[in-house]
């Protein structure tokens, strides 16, 4: 008699969890072992990793291929400046507040752009981001088109010493990345995640099996927008200066993020992590070559799309049936 058992964790996923836990401990101690420049770079890596995970959830799972997430990066950045300068809020409170505001703002935005499909949706999101940029460029209290700096008083309220601030800003970035990855993982593992994964693979079958596609997509859009704004706040807390062009840059906050997700493996949790590592490896090795760096990025993207359309992780997963985040259900038929 055989009794099938349903499990989710695999050996690889258990090993990966242990390694991840160790890595988090080592990374949390970085302010004591890394130099100032390295700390800054690692903070940037964590924020890009967060953006990539969020974009992957939205585009890779919910099928919302947005090229306008810079709208929420910039919105979060500007809200950090506005809420601290005019509202007198502590920067961390302001950043969390910007997430709430972005969630509220994303509902009417979704009501507009969800009417568009496919390529039209992508262009619609971009147009929306331009509207955001032009709007913030009109606000003279925030420096208009040329931007503004975070006042010294606000910066000092984070921590008295410069090294203290750098460590704090690093920990915030690390914490954000861990929070985003954990939230996305728990979401995908839940029953809502099962529904979202089904939508990823076939919308017509998903709706035929009782999944409300519109509502699921809206939920994902609102949550990713809120988190994206929070990451935006953290990015500009690190930069200490904001301007409309920097805040709403399609290159910095969307093109690079799409590159990361696509070469890493879209529609997988592991993909954005690998993509982020590859992106920064390329950027740091090619930084001295100027624009050649962008040409190499383009070439890498084209080769990966042609040779491994599911990205680097897709290639690995298909070959070795690996899964580092235990999302799959596995049925074991026990013989006894």
């Amino acid at each position: 008699m055989s009794a099938p058992v349903v499990t989710r964790a695999t050996r690889a996923s258990r090993v990966a969890m242990v390694i991840a836990a160790l890595a988090v401990i080592v990374l949390a101690l970085a302010p004591w072992w890394a130099g100032r420049a390295d700390l800054r770079l690692m903070g940037e890596i964590f924020l890009y990793l967060s953006l990539a995970c969020l974009w992957n959830l939205m585009a890779g799972y919910a099928g919302l291929v947005s090229v306008g997430q810079q709208a929420f990066v910039g919105f979060g950045g500007y809200m950090l400046f506005a809420l601290t300068i005019f509202g007198g809020l502590h920067p961390i409170v302001a950043i969390l507040g910007s997430g709430v505001l972005a969630a509220m703002l994303s509902v009417p935005v979704a009501a507009l752009i969800f009417r568009l499909k496919g390529a039209y949706f992508a262009i619609g999101t971009w147009v929306m981001a331009e509207v955001f940029r032009l709007t913030f460029a009109q606000v003279s209290a925030l420096g208009g088109g040329s931007g503004t700096s975070l006042p010294v008083g606000v910066v000092k309220s984070l921590a008295a010493s410069r090294s203290g601030r750098e460590a704090l800003s690093y920990w915030l970035a690390l914490g954000a990345a861990i929070t985003v990855i954990t939230c996305v993982y728990l979401f995908l593992r839940s029953r809502r995640g099962l529904a979202l994964t089904a939508i990823r693979d076939s919308e017509v079958a998903a709706s035929g099996l009782g999944i409300d596609i519109w509502r699921t997509k809206l939920e994902v859009y609102v949550v990713t927008s809120a988190f994206t704004a929070i990451i935006g706040g953290l990015i500009f807390l690190q930069k200490l200066r904001i301007s409309p062009d920097a805040a709403f840059s399609v290159n910095d906050w969307t093109a690079f993020v799409i590159f990361i997700v696509v070469i890493g493996g879209i529609g997988t949790l592991e993909g954005p992590i690998i993509g982020t590592l590859v992106f920064f490896l390329l950027r740091e090795t090619l930084a001295d070559f100027g624009t050649i760096y962008l040409m190499v990025l383009g070439a890498v993207a084209i080769v990966v799309m042609l040779k491994a359309p599911k990205g680097i992780w897709g290639l690995v997963r298909d070959r070795y049936d690996l899964e580092l985040f235990p999302l799959s259900y596995r049925v074991r038929i026990k013989e006894d």
Partner: protein
């Protein structure tokens, strides 16, 4: 006894192509009904209208006495209508088990442990248990068709719509499929089955509806229908004068 599903005056056309032309019929609780008709007659479109994948130009669809003409496809599944797709639509990146789990969790609204046990039972019944861990995208066409049925059954429907699932099966496989469908029907599920493999259909259904150019042209007990000259002419291509 009132009808489980009632379709009245259903119309749908795409430009000049009419896929439903004033179609009306009732399906009683616990019935098994077959739908016949040549290719392009509007059989699959009829399923799309009943499940909400298409919205009708006119007409009413009533399920358990409730007008569902404007309900979403998702809502219709939740209240008990599930279907298999003629062209399989597997969730390719998910395993066979997960595919069926979607039906149990979303369609039937089961809790996780209940859903897992139910899915295992359905996979056992449909002969897919040994392939539970395979990604659906890697399945053969035959297994994809099996999966279509497994996924629909996992949603624990009151009304099951099957769209050409017997085509391409060997004799033994076909017999197994008939047994599975009979067991589902015996369990109280109402079935509407579109099928070109007529002997499989006749082994299960109690009534036949024949459709051509979106119009219902005949309806009745299988034997009467199969013997009628009109059906032989339109569906089987037999010249009535011969």
């Amino acid at each position: 006894m009132s009808a489980l599903l009632s379709v009245a005056g259903l119309r749908k056309s795409f430009g000049a192509v009419v896929v439903a032309d004033d179609t009306s019929f009732d399906i009683a609780q616990g019935e098994a009904v077959g739908i016949l008709g040549p290719n392009g007659a509007g059989k699959t479109s009829l399923f799309n209208l009943v499940t909400g994948a298409l919205s009708p130009d006119a007409g009413r669809i009533t399920f358990q006495g409730q007008d569902i003409s404007t309900s979403s496809a998702a809502r219709r599944c939740k209240i008990g209508i599930a279907r298999s797709f003629q062209v399989p639509q597997p969730f390719g990146g998910m395993t066979v088990f997960e595919n069926a789990l979607v039906g149990a969790v979303e369609g039937a609204g089961m809790r996780s442990h209940e859903a897992e046990a139910h899915v295992l039972a359905v996979l056992e019944d449909t002969g897919l248990l040994a392939k539970a861990n395979i990604r659906a995208g890697a399945l053969t066409l035959l297994d994809r068709k099996r999966l279509e049925m497994a996924r629909a059954l996992a949603a624990r429907p009151k009304l099951l719509l099957l769209d050409e699932i017997a085509g391409g099966l060997t004799e033994a496989e076909c017999t197994a499929l008939i047994d599975t469908i009979k067991a589902v029907h015996a369990g109280g599920t109402t079935i509407i089955w579109i099928e070109h493999v007529v002997h499989a259909l006749l082994a299960v259904v109690e009534r036949l509806i024949v459709i051509d150019f979106g119009k219902k042209i005949a309806e009745g007990p299988p034997k009467t229908i199969m013997d009628s000259a009109e059906v032989k002419e339109i569906y089987l291509g037999v010249d009535p004068d011969v």
